[in-house]
């Protein structure tokens, strides 16, 4: 009997906790998105009506639009670059035994362990030293440092689950290594690649801590622009911008999920 009650109590607690987590996670986003549609000039929840005036304001703000463009470009490039490097590195560490393999593995993941502020400060000084500070390349390099570990970790996880027999079966069917890679390896790693790309894109697109050190003059990423704007103004414009960030993120995940078929990306 008492076991029964304990069981029920536990399962109820479980449900409550789960919903609390959902609400805590989702509520801020919902509030931001809702307030962004306000027709008024103050951030109020719930909004007194519905209008797109603050979105139009964002559209007309060259500052925000150039930052949005920069952030999208930066995130896209960081994603592609870290995917290429990450794929090569993961293949090497997964398939070959060589001296220092564990070191390379650890090294690739190490940015996850270092506080991003420390990383940002160090990177800034390093870029000054090699003469790449205040350049787009410098910004991109910085973002690569933080996107690469996510790519490597996600790809490593999906490669561990990869059945090497499939490649060998293809090889025994006279497929050259290039064809095996194209028709077996890549298609089967596709869900892993998609989720690696999502992680990379979202990490770069939303990053503040590192970009603070690496943005400059007219090259200011969207999250930093929002931050500097909020220091002086407090109007629904930031809610609209933040909502755009949320939309881009959600859209990225949705797209990746669609593209990789029935297998879940995240």
């Amino acid at each position: 009997m008492s076991v029964d009650i304990q069981d029920r109590l536990l399962s109820i607690t479980g449900v409550v906790v789960r919903w609390l987590v959902y609400v805590m996670l989702l509520l801020p986003a919902i509030i931001v998105v809702a307030t962004s549609f306000t027709p008024g000039t103050a951030l109020t929840f719930p909004p007194p009506g519905f209008s797109l005036r603050w979105y139009i304001a964002v559209w007309e703000s060259s500052l925000f639009m150039s930052s949005l463009g920069l952030s999208l470009r930066l995130a896209a490039l960081a994603t592609v670059c870290s995917l290429i490097i990450g794929l090569a590195a993961t293949f090497a560490t997964d398939r070959y035994v060589f001296r220092g393999r564990d070191f390379v593995r650890g090294f690739l993941l190490s940015p996850l362990l270092i506080p991003t502020v420390v990383l940002g400060l160090g990177l800034m000084q390093f870029l000054i030293w090699i003469g790449l500070n205040q350049t787009f390349i410098g910004l991109l390099l910085g973002h690569l440092v933080i996107t690469l570990p996510y790519v490597v970790r996600t790809l490593t996880a999906s490669m561990v689950l990869f059945d090497r027999n499939l490649e060998q079966a293809a090889m025994s069917l006279r497929a050259t290594p290039a064809r095996v890679f194209r028709t077996i390896t890549i298609p089967l790693l596709f869900p892993g690649i998609m989720s690696a790309m999502v992680f990379a894109f979202v990490t770069s697109f939303g990053n503040v801590t590192l970009s603070v050190f690496l943005s400059y003059q007219d090259r200011i990423t969207l999250p930093i622009r929002v931050l500097t704007y909020v220091e002086q103004n407090y109007d629904p414009l930031v809610a609209a911008v933040s909502s755009i960030v949320i939309f881009v993120t959600v859209f990225t995940i949705f797209l990746a999920d669609r593209l990789s078929g029935s297998r879940s990306v995240i």
């Binding site: 059945d163 499939l166 060998q168 090889m171 069917l173 497929a175």
Partner: protein, 371 residues
């Protein structure tokens, strides 16, 4: 040595061998996983690598497929040295233990994969796929994905995929180990029929002696990377060349002792049996079906045996017996109600046809070579 001699004096003979292993060896971290394996496989022959788990069967098979580089020795396919040839340039088909079907392709696409590799035209490809799927009775499943197939169906797809390219040799790595017992026997017969009808040269790996005995033309018994014995199923069963082979294939009693000048064997515990072997220390192998009730073999010496255990198996009963302190096994049919029970005493005789002497020297020699 034998191979070299054959190659030197009778090169015409080489033509009949589809596959030759010559002193093939694979070392993993200082341990010989495969040790000096030499083997010739004739055209259309079904050869089975048999041995306990970890004895090096899969490694040997994979070296032939080209997935593993041997540390020593040579592999020939139809006389061509393929030891350094990559897998995709060897003419082999392989069915993996887990079948390794491409999960993102339908059955038809799986079978078509190899045909695309060799650049076959689309129309011809589709005909070939249809034909081979009909052959394995899977044409109705052509558009299914592998995950929607039963284990037996997956196995047949894997077989169809490998056979579509008409390889010189077919490799099978424990293809029945993932199937339940009943299905296993049926698919074994199907596979046997198919391979025979295609006259396909086949190298087959298993740890299941029954599978090997029923399927193979020749069995290669392996143990710890070494070949223990190569022979027909009858030779392997009836004339095991070592203790290991005798024990691994079928059940048997092994008694150790000495043989005197008259061929009389005396075990260390005193059990005596007439043999025709030459004198020396020896191990004798007694198969259970050759231990009979003494009234059946009245001319032979009779032994009084104590029944330690008695199990009914349907077609026969298996008795565990003690003669003095030596243990024997006995398989026999008893009339209804006459099956001896544990604790009974019965009189048995041993049919000399079922007694093998494993010479002690052979074992000493092997031991020295293993270390």
């Amino acid at each position: 040595m034998q191979n070299i001699a054959k190659g030197a004096f009778a090169p015409a003979n080489e033509q009949d061998f589809v596959v030759s292993f010559r002193n093939i060896e694979k070392i993993y971290g200082g341990v010989k996983a495969v040790d000096a394996v030499s083997l010739d496989i004739r055209r259309g022959e079904l050869v089975c690598l048999l041995g306990p788990s970890g004895c090096g069967k899969t490694t040997t098979l994979r070296m032939l497929a080209g997935f593993i580089d041997p540390t020593g020795g040579e592999i020939l396919i139809e006389g061509q040295n393929v030891t350094r040839l990559p897998a995709y340039r060897r003419d082999i088909g392989i069915v993996f233990q887990n079948y390794a079907l491409f999960p993102h392709m339908t059955v038809a696409k799986n079978v078509e994969y190899g045909l695309i590799s060799i650049g076959m035209k689309k129309a011809e490809r589709q005909d070939r796929v249809q034909e081979i799927l009909r052959r394995v009775e899977l044409q109705h499943l052509a558009d299914r994905y592998p995950r929607a197939l039963s284990g037996g169906q997956q196995q047949r797809v894997a077989l169809a995929r490998a056979l579509a390219l008409q390889p010189k040799v077919l490799l099978l790595d424990e293809p029945f180990s993932n199937l339940d017992a009943q299905l296993r026997v049926r698919l074994r017969e199907d596979l046997h029929g198919l391979i025979r009808s295609l006259n396909m040269t086949t190298l087959f790996v298993t740890h299941d002696q029954e599978e090997a005995l029923t399927l193979a033309d020749r069995i290669v018994v392996m143990n710890q990377g070494l070949v223990e014995q190569i022979g027909s199923p009858e030779e392997i069963y009836d004339a095991p060349s070592s203790r290991f082979v005798a024990q691994f294939i079928g059940s048997c009693a092994l008694l150790e002792g000495n043989i005197d000048g008259d061929g009389q064997f005396t075990s260390h515990a005193g059990f005596q049996l007439q043999t025709s072997a030459s004198p020396g220390t020896a191990t004798i192998v007694i198969r259970p079906e050759y231990v009979r009730r003494s009234e059946e073999l009245p001319t032979l010496r009779s032994y009084r045996a104590h029944v330690d255990a008695s199990d009914y198996h349907g077609h026969t009963s298996r008795l565990q017996l003690s003669v003095g302190s030596d243990k024997l096994l006995m398989d026999a049919r008893f009339p209804v109600g006459r099956k001896p029970n544990q604790g009974d005493l019965i009189d048995v005789a041993i049919d000399p046809a079922g007694v093998r002497v494993v010479p002690q020297q052979a074992q000493e020699w092997r031991k020295q070579n293993t270390i």
